[in-house]
Symmetry: C2
Subunit: 183 residues, 2 copies
């Protein structure tokens, strides 16, 4: 089974090392991990971003599954590029797995960036008056139930790991789930 390894990991300074570790974990479980940075792209070329999109899409199309790192990125929720890819793979009917190294429910995550209160009509709202989803999930319900429907429930650790960007225990749990489906 080929698995697309989606996540904001590609934005880390040690992105290539994380990719190598993820691929090794996959190999240990008898599956093949494909990591976006394995696409060889000249990042200085004028059409670099289109080439990256096309490379990632071709990689997704070659895979039977996705493992999405949905750890919060620049805000209370997951990285947009990763979420797009999860949606794309769900739309293609592929096996969808995901993890978040932050197990906190979404209202608690939102409260880190500004006051969360209850409006006079009883809505949970952020500081701009926008509703804060409060279904007990760590992130937006579309992703949470996409994982339930197209794969396995979101994997989260019992508590925040020491290094939220480099702890791969929840990632490995996803690999195990994928390998069990593949067997």
């Amino acid at each position: 089974m080929k698995i697309y390894l989606a996540g904001p990991d590609v934005f880390l300074p040690d992105a290539l090392d994380i990719g190598r570790r993820k691929r090794e974990i996959c190999a240990r479980h008898g599956v093949t991990g494909l990591y976006p940075l394995d696409n060889v792209i000249d990042r200085g070329a004028s059409d670099a971003s289109l080439r990256i999109f096309e490379g990632n899409q071709a990689m997704m199309d070659a895979c039977e599954a996705i493992i999405a790192n949905l750890t919060p990125f620049r805000g209370p929720g997951a990285d947009a590029g990763t979420v797009y890819e999860l949606g794309y793979m769900a739309g293609r009917g592929k096996l969808c797995l995901g993890y978040s190294n932050d197990p906190s429910p979404y209202p608690a995550r939102t409260a880190r960036f500004g006051t969360v209160t209850t409006s006079s009509e009883g809505r949970l709202i952020d500081m701009h008056g926008l509703t804060v989803e409060d279904f007990g999930h760590p992130d937006n319900l579309m992703m949470i139930h996409a994982l339930d429907s197209y794969g396995c429930p979101l994997v989260v650790p019992q508590e925040l790991p020491a290094d939220i960007w480099r702890d791969l225990a929840s990632f490995e749990a996803c690999v195990r789930l994928a390998a069990a489906r593949s067997a």
Copy 2:
């Protein structure tokens, strides 16, 4: 043509009114807008979030196109639920349109939430050392090029409108593009 009207609009206090205005604009251009809140869901039920997911997915499956409101939501980038839906519709090969009422490039958006600098290796990075995409796009390249590939380039206003959540000029530009494809 039936168009799924995705966006964090559903989180606004006047979400129903925005939906009504969006549907009216669609009707004026000869297309039919389907708005997620048109699904009748008992939001107090124990399985409400799953019902909302299933309702939204059924609505997407009934539509030939999506218009995604990709205006930044709780951070520099678009709402995760909306991005998931854009990915899903791209994966299904549907017509994909989107707009952002904030035309700023992604590094400028990111700088609103903390210092953006250049690392010693020449990467543009945020305050946590994570790479900031710098291809001249307003948001993550996966969404930007998904729109290019499956529909029309992201629609943005010349400048930030007075009411970023209620100005529907860029939305209407998307409806016009969809109606032209439908004709």
